[in-house]
C-alpha cells in the first residue's frame, strides 16, 4: 500500500533526417518491459521538439538514437535547450554510430553515456536504473 516508488519516465526520440527507427523502437519496448514509462515521439524530431516534449512530459531521461552522423550537433543542442528551459537535471543518453572520441567529447558537454550499435538493451537499462537511484528522489 505504499506509493513510494514511481516509474522512471524516459523520452525516446529519433532526431534528424534518417528514417530508420527500428533501433529506437526496440529500445523503447525494452525500457517499457523494464518497468519504465516511455514517451515515444517517433521520427524526424528537431532538438526543439525533443526538448519541448521532455519538459512537458516531465521526464527524467531523454534517450536519442542518432545514426545520421549528426550527433556532435544534435546532442549538445538538446542539452542546451533543456538547460534553457530549466531542466539541466534531465539525463541525456542514447546511441548510434558514434566514434569513441566523439563520445568522450560529448560527455564533457554534459551528455551521459552513449551506446554503440549492437549493445544489449540490458546495459542501457541498468545504466538508467543506476543513474536514477543516484539522482532521483525516492
Amino acid at each position: 500500500m505504499t506509493a513510494a516508488s514511481r516509474p522512471i519516465r524516459v523520452l525516446v526520440a529519433k532526431p534528424g533526417l534518417d528514417g530508420h527507427d527500428r533501433g529506437a523502437k526496440v529500445v523503447a519496448a525494452a525500457l517499457r518491459d523494464a518497468g519504465m514509462e516511455v514517451v515515444y515521439t517517433g521520427l524526424h524530431q528537431t532538438p526543439e521538439m525533443i526538448a519541448t516534449a521532455a519538459v512537458q512530459e516531465d521526464v527524467d531521461v531523454v534517450g536519442l538514437s542518432i545514426l545520421s552522423g549528426a550527433h556532435m550537433a544534435l546532442f549538445p543542442r538538446v542539452r542546451q535547450m533543456l538547460d534553457q528551459m530549466g531542466r539541466p537535471d534531465i539525463l541525456i543518453t542514447g546511441g548510434g554510430i558514434i566514434p569513441a572520441e566523439d563520445m568522450d567529447q560529448l560527455q564533457a558537454l554534459g551528455i551521459g553515456r552513449l551506446f554503440g550499435p549492437g549493445t544489449p538493451t540490458a546495459e542501457l537499462i541498468s545504466y538508467i536504473q543506476s543513474w536514477a537511484s543516484e539522482h532521483l528522489e525516492a
Partner: protein, 325 residues
C-alpha cells in the same frame, strides 16, 4: 513541502513548473492533496472534453485536429493522453504524441501523456486531478484522450463536461449500438474514417438507438440533449468544424439546462468521497499494520487452517481495540 513557489510559477505559465506539479499529483507525492487544495478555488474556467473509443479509431488524430481548430480560435489547449500500463512490469509505452506533431511546438498547447497505472476505467487514477492543475494553469480547453476502450470503461464521462465517443465503420452493427456501457454515457458520437464503407449505416443505426432511448427517457423534451452523430475523416480534417460546433452547442445546452452545474457538483461529491476513501485506506492499512499481519498468517491461510475472512476480522479487530485504548 512548500508548494507556493511551484503554484506561483505554474500560474505564471511556466511549463516546467506545471509539468512538475502534475508529476507530484500523478505520483501522489507527500503533500499532493495540499497542492490540489491550493488551486481548487481557481477552477471551473476550462471546458473539459473527453475523447474515448476503441483502439485505432483515430482518437489521437482527432485530438490533434481539435487542438489545431481551437488554437485558430485563439484558445489555449491542454491534452492529457492516457495509454495502458502493463500490469506485469508497471511499464508503459506512451505513443499518442506521435499523432500530435503539428501542434507540438505551439506555445499555447500543452500535451501530457499518462500511463493508466493500474486503473481499469480507461484513465489513470489521477487524471481528474491533473485536469484541475491544467484548469488552474489557465487553459481554455482540456482534451482528455482515454486508452483504447471496449464497452465498459466509462471513467471519462464522470470527469468531463462533454464526452465524445469515436467509432469507425467497422465498429459493429445495430446490435452493438444497443448494448449498455460507453454508448450510454457519451454526449456526442463521431464515426471517424467515414470515407470507408459502412459509415452511413453505422450513423443510421446509432441514430435509431439514440432516438429509441430518447423516447424511453423521462425528461421533458425541452431540456433533452439530442445526441449528434457526426461523420469525420480526421486524417483529412473533414467534419472537424462540425464537431467543434456540436461541442459548442453541447456546452450551451449544459449551461442552459443546469446540467453543467449538476455534473460539476456530482464530480465534487465523487472527489470528496474519493479523498476520504484514499485517506481511510491508507490509515487502516498503516494503523492496523495490515500487510505485516496478513503476511504473518499467510502460511495458515494457505494451509487451510484459517480462512481469509477470519484473518481480515483479526486485522480489523486489532484496529478497533487500538482505538479504545
Amino acid at each position: 513541502m512548500n508548494f507556493d513557489p511551484l503554484i506561483a510559477r505554474l500560474r505564471a505559465g511556466n511549463t516546467a513548473a506545471l509539468a512538475r506539479a502534475i508529476s507530484v499529483v500523478e505520483n501522489e507525492r507527500p503533500g499532493f492533496e495540499r497542492l490540489l487544495a491550493e488551486v481548487h478555488h481557481s477552477l471551473g474556467r476550462a471546458r473539459r472534453i473527453g475523447i474515448t473509443g476503441p483502439p485505432g479509431a483515430g482518437k489521437s488524430t482527432l485530438v490533434e485536429r481539435l487542438v489545431a481548430a481551437y488554437r485558430q480560435a485563439g484558445q489555449r489547449v491542454a491534452v492529457v493522453a492516457v495509454d495502458p500500463t502493463s500490469p506485469f512490469t508497471g511499464g508503459a509505452l506512451l505513443g499518442d504524441r506521435i499523432r500530435m506533431e503539428s501542434v507540438a511546438l505551439d506555445d499555447g498547447v500543452y500535451i501530457r501523456s499518462m500511463g493508466s497505472r493500474g486503473s481499469v476505467g480507461g484513465l489513470a487514477t489521477t487524471t481528474r486531478e491533473v485536469c484541475d492543475l491544467l484548469d488552474a494553469a489557465n487553459f481554455d480547453r482540456i482534451l482528455v484522450e482515454t486508452v483504447g476502450v471496449g464497452q465498459s470503461e466509462l471513467d471519462v464521462a464522470g470527469m468531463t463536461d462533454s464526452t465524445v465517443l469515436v467509432l469507425v465503420p467497422e465498429s459493429g452493427d445495430g446490435i452493438q449500438t444497443l448494448k449498455s456501457g460507453v454508448i450510454e454515457v457519451a454526449d456526442l458520437f463521431v464515426v471517424n474514417k467515414a470515407d470507408r464503407p459502412g459509415a452511413e449505416q453505422l450513423r443510421r443505426d446509432l441514430e435509431v438507438t439514440l432516438g429509441l432511448r430518447r423516447r424511453a427517457g423521462r425528461q421533458a423534451d425541452a431540456v433533452l440533449w439530442k445526441h449528434p452523430v457526426l461523420l469525420t475523416v480526421a486524417t483529412k480534417g473533414d467534419g472537424i468544424s462540425e464537431l467543434i460546433a456540436a461541442l459548442d452547442r453541447h456546452h450551451a445546452w449544459l449551461l442552459e439546462s443546469g446540467t453543467l452545474q449538476e455534473r460539476r457538483t456530482r464530480r465534487l461529491l465523487h472527489r470528496t468521497r474519493e479523498v476520504v476513501d484514499r485517506a481511510t485506506r491508507r490509515w487502516v492499512w498503516e494503523e492496523a499494520r495490515a500487510d505485516q499481519r496478513i503476511a504473518e498468517r499467510l502460511e495458515d491461510i494457505s494451509a487451510g487452517r484459517v480462512s481469509p475472512y477470519e484473518v481480515a476480522a483479526e486485522v480489523l479487530g486489532g484496529l478497533k481495540q487500538g482505538e479504545r485504548t
